[in-house]
């Protein structure tokens, strides 16, 4: 693999550059990802299995600097070198290594009234969801950065970019209200060639209001999001998203959580014809809810079992789902005849009902193990993974394996991904 020496040179350079960051927290990740997937050598050529190895190096550096009492500046910078961002051996980066970087967060935080009134300005990530494998309440999320495989089953990736805006939080008694406003940020494609290494553009004006309250032992969360692209944008309409969630303990060993969110109108592509010639139309769905319910149980032996159910109101069911599967089978045998519809809502999210189970435990003081599976409850196909983690004071090693399983008339069975391995070394500096 000719790319490796150059890649290692760059990644070692990135690692070395983090060493002198005195008083900063830095994390460096090196991932080696062997993958088996179905690929096409041309638009109309048949699918064939291909094994590839993607190598990535990521570095993130964070710092929080108190300025005066109650006023602080904090930020996180992230960079990545990727040998195969497309994850296809047929599409390698023109410069051998694809480089990305972003300012993930950079904000000034001021406690105007200590512990009561907090004002943040800058770039910030807001994730109100308590869900693990799906997160209905993370209504403003850029998703994981870097196209790096997430083999833990978690919906939230290691690093994500925040939104530029201003957030005001008021905490009174057992009640919290917060409001985040982020403006639309657009710039020219010329400017984007330089700014892409600092920040992505923001397509919409967004105003997210969150209310949190403690009722007895339960934490209750309500949110409302107003967003609009405004004049001149691709989507100038005003949209509203509402959400609610609760989590609490039951007895000594169980935590439970439930949440739901719904947006006023969302588009989805539906199958007009599942036989050649394939045809697709766009449909608008009003108030399609996304809901999650789950629990985590912990035993006295430090064994932990997490189970979650996810309802995807935008997903397909019944005849619509059968047509989607039939369409995808036709597309598999007649490549290039139409767009892929299975992944239109994200990975493994085309159906209405999903389940998730994760079992984890400590093997000894340094070694933990976890096994997880995500199941499409409509066609009983899924993804299954195993994660082993060895933790030391300044570094960890993760070995992960993920396998997609199911017949060829199921969602996972139709996924181009067959299996993936991730060997990851993390250094904490």
């Amino acid at each position: 693999m000719k790319k490796l020496p150059a890649f290692l040179g760059i990644s070692m350079g990135l690692l070395a550059s983090t060493v002198p960051l005195h008083a900063w927290d830095a994390t460096a990740l090196l991932d080696v990802l062997p993958t088996a997937a179905l690929v096409q050598t041309g638009s109309f050529s048949p699918w064939m299995q291909s094994e590839t190895t993607e190598v990535t190096a990521q570095v993130a550096a964070s710092h929080t600097q108190p300025i005066v009492e109650g006023l602080s500046l904090s930020g996180t910078l992230w960079g990545m070198a990727d040998s195969l961002p497309s994850q296809s051996p047929l599409s390698t980066p023109p410069t051998k290594i694809d480089l990305q970087s972003r300012i993930l967060e950079l904000k000034l935080a001021w406690e105007a009234i200590p512990g009561t009134l907090i004002w943040d300005a800058g770039k910030k990530i807001i994730h109100p969801s308590s869900g693990f494998f799906r997160t209905p309440l993370n209504v403003i999320s850029h998703g994981a950065l870097g196209n790096t495989a997430n083999l833990t089953g978690s919906a939230v990736g290691t690093w994500e970019e925040g939104w530029v805006g201003t957030d005001v939080t008021l905490l009174v008694g057992s009640f919290t209200v917060a409001n985040f406003f982020s403006p639309r940020l657009q710039w020219s494609s010329d400017a984007d060639r330089a700014l892409q290494y600092l920040s992505t553009q923001q397509n919409d004006y967004q105003n997210l209001t969150r209310v949190d309250l403690r009722l007895g032992d339960a934490d209750v969360r309500l949110l409302g999001l107003l967003s609009t692209g405004g004049p001149g944008s691709v989507d100038p309409d005003l949209h509203f998203t509402a959400g609610a969630g609760v989590d609490t303990n039951i007895g000594d060993a169980v935590t439970v959580r439930a949440e739901v969110s719904a947006r006023d109108s969302q588009n989805r592509s539906v199958v007009a014809s599942d036989q050649p010639p394939l045809a697709v139309t766009t449909q608008t769905v009003s108030w399609a809810p996304r809901a999650l319910a789950g629990f985590t149980w912990t035993s006295k032996d430090q064994l932990s079992i997490m189970a979650e159910y996810y309802y995807n109101g935008l997903g397909f069911i019944g005849d619509d789902y059968a047509r989607l599967i039939s369409y995808s089978q036709t597309l598999r045998s007649s490549p290039g005849q139409g767009p892929d519809l299975l992944d239109q809502f994200g990975d493994f999210s085309a159906a209405r009902h999903y389940g998730f189970v994760r079992v984890s435990g400590k093997i000894d003081d340094k070694l933990t193990a976890a096994g997880w599976t995500t199941v499409n409850l409509q066609d009983v196909s899924g993804l299954t993974g195993i994660v082993l983690t060895l933790t030391y004071d300044k570094w960890t090693v993760n070995a992960s394996f993920m396998d997609a399983w199911g017949n060829t008339d199921t969602e996972a069975g139709l996924s181009p991904l067959l299996w993936r391995v991730d060997l990851e070394v993390s250094l904490f500096l």
Binding site: D25, P114, H127, P128, N249, A253, Q302, D393
Partner: protein, 255 residues
Amino acid sequence: MNRMRFVVVYAGLALFGTATGLFAESPQELLARVDAKRYVPDLSFVMQMTSFDGDTQTDSNTLWGFIKGVGARNRSLIAFADPASVKGRKMLMDGNVVYLLFPKTTNPIRLSPLQVLLGQASNGDVVRTGFSEDYDVSSLSETDREGVACYQFALTVKDSRKDASYKKVLLWVEKESLHPIYAEFSTGDKLLKQAFYKDYRPALGKDLPFQVDIRDGENPQSHTIMAYLKVGQKPVPDTVFRRDYLPSWVPEQPR
């Protein structure tokens, strides 16, 4: 207080079930005085928490944080400062409700009481115990522990704290100084933890045990030493002990 007086108190307890009204200071009041000797309101600290299996060190963490209140009303914010692999984790302990915030995430995870009890955080629970706030004195006697004259309190959790992890406590308190020196925390039937309070030093107008050695009840070879490296006082409003404040909290060392 002389030995005869305690014989009388003990007899009083046996006869009437309570000593209240018979003497100037009841066992519960004495216990409150034991707590008051070491209670610092709004304590901020840097703490080293080191775990051992026998003589072999298995884990070590440095924590920054502060505590408000005592016993059932106790709440604390804790940040992991070292080692690097856990640096940046923040924890809010509000009675039996505990939240953990991992670095790179913004929503604190809620832990079950059992998860807390199984982790090192439960050792903090032992350190933060306000005996008189959480427990009633079932019996009080005088004894000798390793050559030191002690009061021995047998404590039973109050009805209002039935959700507490430890239903019963046996507590040895040095008579002369009123310093707790040893305690056994149990379910009543099963010993869960043993605590050895050591290295008392004057700080912030009180006598603080700068080191507490906590041993596992089932496996005494497994133990954790919690040692204050630095203490101070930081008055904070109640609202900082909210889940929603945790992401905004910027940990600082005591001044």
